[in-house]
Amino acid sequence: MNEVSSSETVARAALEKPPAVPGALFARLFARVRNRPEWVCLPLTLVLVIGGWEWYVAAYKVSTLILPPPSHILSALHTGLASGVYVKALLVTLQAILLGFLLSASVAFILGTLISQVRLIEATIYPYVVALQTLPKIAIAPLILVWVGLGIESKIIIAALVSFFPMLVNTIVGLKSASADKLELMHALTASRIKTFFLVKLPEALPYIFAGLQIGIVLAVLGAIVGEFVGAKAGLGYLIIQMNYTMDVAGMFAVLVILGVMGVVLNVLIAVLRKRVIFWQRTDVSAI
């Protein structure tokens, strides 16, 4: 019975009276699972959805050109990864995403700082920023391709454009969020503007800035993929378009899986960084 693992064991341990040494382990495991049922329910949901999907496609004989079963997607994923095609495309797209995101985050931070701290800049620039924000950024993508070409530069720029505004707005809101108490304290201590900025305003803004980064990274992925749709010579978005032409639907799903995993990993990385940097915060500031 020691060979059997995961939820099945847990369920069995629940039914049987636990035997000697390994039994004690299961009893402990069971006690923990009883407190945190989501440890079982969360993976179980995935298993049910994928199993149901597989069963549905087989039972109703759905064309694999419309909805391939998970097993086909898995084998497409396997061959694609083994041949190195996906990895090459992933690296191209990831590079565009990260460079676009870094560019966008840096500019958003610098411009956000200027807008939030210098009244004249706020009055001069911010109205245009707000007006431009209403523009659907993706609509500019073809234009960017015309200007910059089919290479990775156009993807970087589109990823940066699409992810820019939430990060800018969050920086501005965050840098203005320091409480009146703290600002009065700094004023009473005769703090200079620079000191007040670095000692109070910036740390106070960090939760907002990180919330912006978390939205921004998702949008940077979107921007890079859209850029590759519009015109490219490599990348995951380019791969999807190619597979679309050849009706390789299982392959398209495989690329979607890769995109999904990449998105989750990027988000978790930022979340981990956020937790380390903003160690004093217990509750999350909701994203703006």
């Binding site: 108490d181 703290k182 304290l185 009473a188 005769t190 000692l199 109070v200 740390p203 004093w280």
Partner: protein
């Protein structure tokens, strides 16, 4: 109530202070706020007061009478409408470094630990870190926070946080300590303990203290002198000397003299219409 009488009482008391330049001096200070709707709120009217070197002065008054306003004027964070204010002989024109302030809430920076919070004025004012770190350790020891230097504010109780804010107010060795209802947010037991601690700190640090409070017994227990303010526009309507020997124990609160002072202040407040 008769405003002129109250004013006269304040002036007269002011006149009886001992000679020598006072540490804090206000002459005919008043403050009018302009609200956004253009309404003019007369918060303080014609305040005269003097606080001497090393003296502990408490101010009591009804809510909204302008106590915090007075403290902000002294701290230089708020411009006055009329009158003159001096700190150690020089006019108060803005925030200055020879003042330490304790607010009603501790206002600690959550990303700084206890020692770093205490050292905030040192960082802000670019003072020598080594010298003042030693001083900060002494102060933390004095308020009973030795061993908590590396703890963060969210790991402290409300009383401990307020102790840190007191060490922060004292670390740069200011001549004057201004306190705006520093213990108002604490429970009664913690508050009594903080009163004892503050007395001890004051005795050790020999600062001039200007304490605003809602609590009449706290004012009497701690102060050499209690100033009583009227309802808005705030004026000083009475002044009482408190002559218990120091250090005072909490038992002082049970003496007839203590009761007499508290009753007297109640009467003064009631006469000004504060307790309607």
């Amino acid at each position: 109530m008769n405003v002129v009488d109250g004013l006269a009482a304040g002036r007269q008391a002011f006149g009886t202070r001992p000679a020598g330049a006072p540490t804090i001096r206000c002459l005919g200070v008043s403050k009018v706020y302009e609200t956004i709707e253009g309404e003019r709120i007369h918060a303080l009217a014609d305040i005269d007061l003097a606080v001497h070197e090393g003296e502990f002065v408490s101010v009591v008054g009804p809510s909204g009478c302008g106590k915090s306003t007075l403290l902000r004027l002294l701290a230089g964070t708020l411009p006055k409408t009329a009158g003159e204010m001096f700190l150690r002989g020089s006019p108060i024109t803005g925030p200055r470094r020879d003042i330490g302030i304790v607010f009603q809430t501790a206002t600690l920076l959550p990303w700084r630990n206890v020692l770093q919070n205490t050292l905030l004025p040192v960082d802000v004012q670019g003072l020598d870190k080594t010298t003042y770190t030693a001083r900060a350790h002494n102060l933390l020891q004095m308020v009973g926070l030795a061993g908590f230097e590396r703890k963060y504010p969210f790991e402290l109780s409300g009383g401990m946080q307020q102790r840190v804010s007191i060490t922060r107010a004292l670390v740069h060795d200011p001549a004057v300590l201004l306190m705006d209802e520093p213990f108002g947010a604490l429970d009664a037991l913690t508050r009594e303990q903080m009163n004892l601690d503050l007395q001890r700190i004051w005795a050790a640090a020999r600062k001039t203290v200007f304490l605003i409070t809602h609590s009449i017994s706290e004012a009497v227990f701690l102060a050499d002198r209690v100033l009583v303010m009227s309802a808005r526009p705030g004026r000083i309507i009475a002044e009482l000397n408190v002559n218990f020997s120091r250090p005072r124990s909490l038992d002082v609160m049970g003496t007839p003299e203590f009761g007499r002072l508290v009753t007297q202040i109640r009467h003064d407040l009631a006469a000004s219409g504060a307790l309607d």
